[in-house]
């Protein structure tokens, strides 16, 4: 197989950048895009706010404590979607294979380009000029390294690096720097005597498999050496499930009240399903209690549906059967097992029973 050239493209502080484009008076100030409820979390912080230790997914209350002077802006998702479309349309027009992930990042396979780096540099400059959005890029032989590299240069980064070079450069960092190695795994690795990526690279695969299971152990070993063969695929295929959930401002213990919320969530879910014209067979509810116990219950029916009556009835029944024993923090309803799009339409006839 020919040498691959993979780019990870990541918009710098995307939501904030979109906001600053329409409110230039805020440029240079710490800005946080976040909801305002008591349990809201930071979606994006400007680099000025990040200097105060504010980061994505941090509780907004905590962010305000760290940076009281920050300007708080409520998220405007339609605007972000619009900006995202403009950015990736430009990228797609230029690069052969682009796999978009969410609104603000994408992988691109540049292997077929004659001079990938200058071409990419030129493209990013044009995106910046035409949309005002700065993209940081990591260019590497695989997705894993590209993803790490795009982060190394942020903001406005452009880092091209080889696998071995990258592994050496990160040797004394925590294994958490590698996507797919989370805080729990990192803590366990540290206990085993592998607190850094460099030390983890020395770990025998058998030992990792012993501790983490055959598959994840092997995967960890490969990740530690920054091996990754995942291809960049232009389309990720249709969604496999859809859901609608909400976290309450204050926990709800009353079952009737929970049911009312669930009905609304189910109605919202079905509205989306009808719009996309998809039907599913598995209705699922998700309940998170005040002690963070998270429970899901699901039921699969024989005929795919997106009818609000059917979905609501099943969701409510599942909730009643579970009867949350403690106050509820988060409630959600989801639908999965969508009919396969390519499968021939099935016309199973039924008896009149």
């Amino acid at each position: 197989m020919a040498k691959r050239v993979i780019a990870h493209l990541d918009c710098d502080a995307f939501y904030v950048s979109v906001e600053l484009l329409r409110r230039p008076e805020l440029v240079g100030l710490p800005v946080i895009v976040s909801g305002s409820g008591p349990r809201a979390v930071v979606t994006t912080a400007s680099y000025e706010a990040r200097k105060f230790g504010v980061g994505s997914a941090m509780a907004t209350a905590e962010a305000r404590r760290r940076c009281p002077q920050a300007v708080l802006i409520p998220p405007d998702f339609p605007a972000y979607r619009e900006a995202s479309r403009a950015v990736w349309e430009l990228v797609r027009a230029e690069l052969p294979v682009v796999q978009q992930l969410g609104l603000d990042e994408a992988y691109a396979d540049l292997s077929s380009l004659e001079r990938p780096l200058p071409a990419l540099r030129e493209l990013l400059a044009r995106v910046k000029a035409e949309t005002g959005i700065q993209i940081s890029a990591g260019i590497a032989p695989n997705r894993l390294v590209a993803k790490i590299a795009s982060d190394l240069g942020k903001p406005a980064g452009f880092v091209a690096i080889g696998r071995e070079d990258c592994a050496r450069r990160l040797a004394d960092r925590s294994p958490r720097i590698v996507p797919g190695i989370g805080p729990k795994t990192a803590a366990r690795l540290a206990e085993m005597g592998y607190p850094t990526l460099g030390s983890l690279q020395e770990a025998p695969v058998e030992e990792l498999q012993e501790r983490f299971g055959t598959n994840y152990g092997r995967d960890l070993h490969r990740r530690a050496h920054l091996h990754d063969e995942t291809p960049v695929s232009a389309s990720t295929g249709p969604a496999k499930s859809r859901s609608n959930e909400t976290t309450f401002d204050t926990d709800i213990a009353d079952h009737a009240e929970l049911e009312a919320v669930l009905r609304k969530l189910a109605a919202g879910l079905c509205e989306g399903l009808v719009k996309k014209d998809v039907r599913g067979r598995t209705v699922r509810i998700k309940v998170r209690l005040d002690d963070w116990t998270t429970v899901t219950r699901a039921r699969t029916i024989e005929q795919p549906t997106n009818e609000v009556e059917v979905v609501t009835a099943i969701a409510v029944e599942l909730l009643r059967a579970y009867a949350p024993p403690r106050p509820v923090r988060l409630l959600g309803v989801g639908m999965a097992a969508f009919g396969e799009r390519d499968a021939p339409p099935v016309r199973q006839l039924a008896l009149p029973v």
Binding site: A343, P344, L349, A350, L351, V353
Partner: protein, 371 residues
């Protein structure tokens, strides 16, 4: 409570009873197995509030009492006990609220579940009590059970309609795509009779209880909304399903256009082979022409298969589609003997019957082809 029993016995009985324990109830005690020890009898019990099971355990009781232990965990413990120890003892330690399990040198302390949350289970007997031969009863269940629905949104169809009177035992099940009726003639007439819509799940459990006890008869007690089966020393009870089971006789067409006698095992083999290529909801196609039936299947991006089979067909050729699994279920239940395949047209139900009167009728709805 304190008792000792053979490890093998404990394991065998736990394997039977723990299948009934609830896996997902909010009431923790329902995920448990209740061990009840009196001087005369030790019983293991489990329930999920719909189906309940009580099985005896041969044991030496040193102290009477009742405890509820996590079923899954107790089963795992029983399974893992050292083979060298042939006896295992269970003793409640009230102060620690646990049960000490000792086998050989291995010692476990299992925290008990709240005993007061475990409901009393139905006693044997009922308004009507009928004794039936166990073999005939469970064979009849096995023949129809696959046709019962698993779709909880139609509770009525998740049951099997069981009728017993005189010399006839009849069971009916349908999930609205196919219908199974099995009539079994008993060797000797029953004393008394009943008709009830019993959850298919309960009857499947009954099959395995009969299998593990090797009992020859089943004593069935029927009450307004409950049925109790006594098998050997075990007692399996279930709530009955409310509401009117569909009138299945109305669903059976009175006349058919085609009636073909085919060797069941031959058709079964062909269908099994060709079904491999009917994936992702693709139908199995049965094309009838002069003297021949061609079974074929095709799945886009996977492949296709076809195979002809000589059959005594005459008349206008036609093609009908079936769900491969549904067709196979019917053919499996017929077995190896000759069958009658009766058809009307591509959109009308087909019927499979045992030719030499095995008393089995399988009605199957087609899949509309060429859409």
């Amino acid at each position: 409570m304190k008792l000792s029993a053979s490890g093998a016995d404990l394991l065998a009985q736990l394997q039977t009873v723990s299948r009934v324990a609830s896996t997902r109830s909010a009431v923790q005690a329902l995920s448990g197995v209740q061990v009840s020890a009196t001087a005369s009898r030790v019983e293991l019990r489990a329930t999920d509030m719909e189906v309940s099971l009580r099985v005896p355990l041969t044991a030496d009781v040193q102290r009477e009492g009742t405890v509820v232990l996590p079923a899954r965990l107790l089963l795992d413990v029983a399974r893992s006990l050292p083979r060298s120890a042939d006896s295992v003892s269970l003793e409640l330690r009230p102060e620690q609220q646990d049960v000490e399990v000792v086998a050989g040198h291995a010692k476990f302390h299992l925290r008990t579940l709240r005993a007061e949350d475990f409901p009393p289970l139905p006693e044997p007997g009922g308004d009507t009590v009928v004794t039936v031969p166990a073999g005939a009863f469970v064979d009849t269940i096995a023949t129809v059970a696959k046709s019962a629905s698993r779709d909880e949104t139609r509770p009525i169809l998740t049951g099997i309609l069981v009728s017993a009177s005189g010399q006839e035992l009849r069971m009916v099940a349908t999930d609205s795509y196919r219908l199974s009726v099995k009539e079994t003639v008993l060797e000797s007439p029953l004393e008394g009779g009943f008709e009830a819509n019993v959850p298919a799940r309960a009857l499947e459990e009954l099959r395995s209880v009969v299998g593990s006890t090797g009992a020859e008869t089943i004593r069935i007690g029927v009450r307004a909304n409950q049925v109790v089966f006594e098998v050997g020393g075990a007692v399996l009870s279930s709530r009955l399903i409310d509401g009117q089971f569909p009138n299945y006789r109305q669903l059976l067409p009175e006349q058919f256009e085609h009636e073909l006698r085919i060797a069941g095992d031959e058709l079964g083999d062909v269908v099994k082979r060709i079904s491999l290529m009917a994936q992702k909801n693709a139908p199995l196609r049965l094309s009838f022409g002069d003297g021949e039936l061609t079974v074929s299947a095709q799945t886009p991006d996977v492949g296709e298969a076809s195979e002809p089979l000589p059959v005594p067909f005459a008349g206008e050729p036609f093609e009908i589609g079936f769900n491969p699994d549904f067709l196979r279920d019917g053919l499996d239940s017929i077995g190896a003997g000759d069958l009658l395949l009766k058809l009307i047209s591509p959109l009308r139900p087909g019927l499979i019957q045992s030719a030499d009167d095995g008393g089995f009728t399988y009605l199957i709805m087609p899949i509309r082809l060429n859409v």
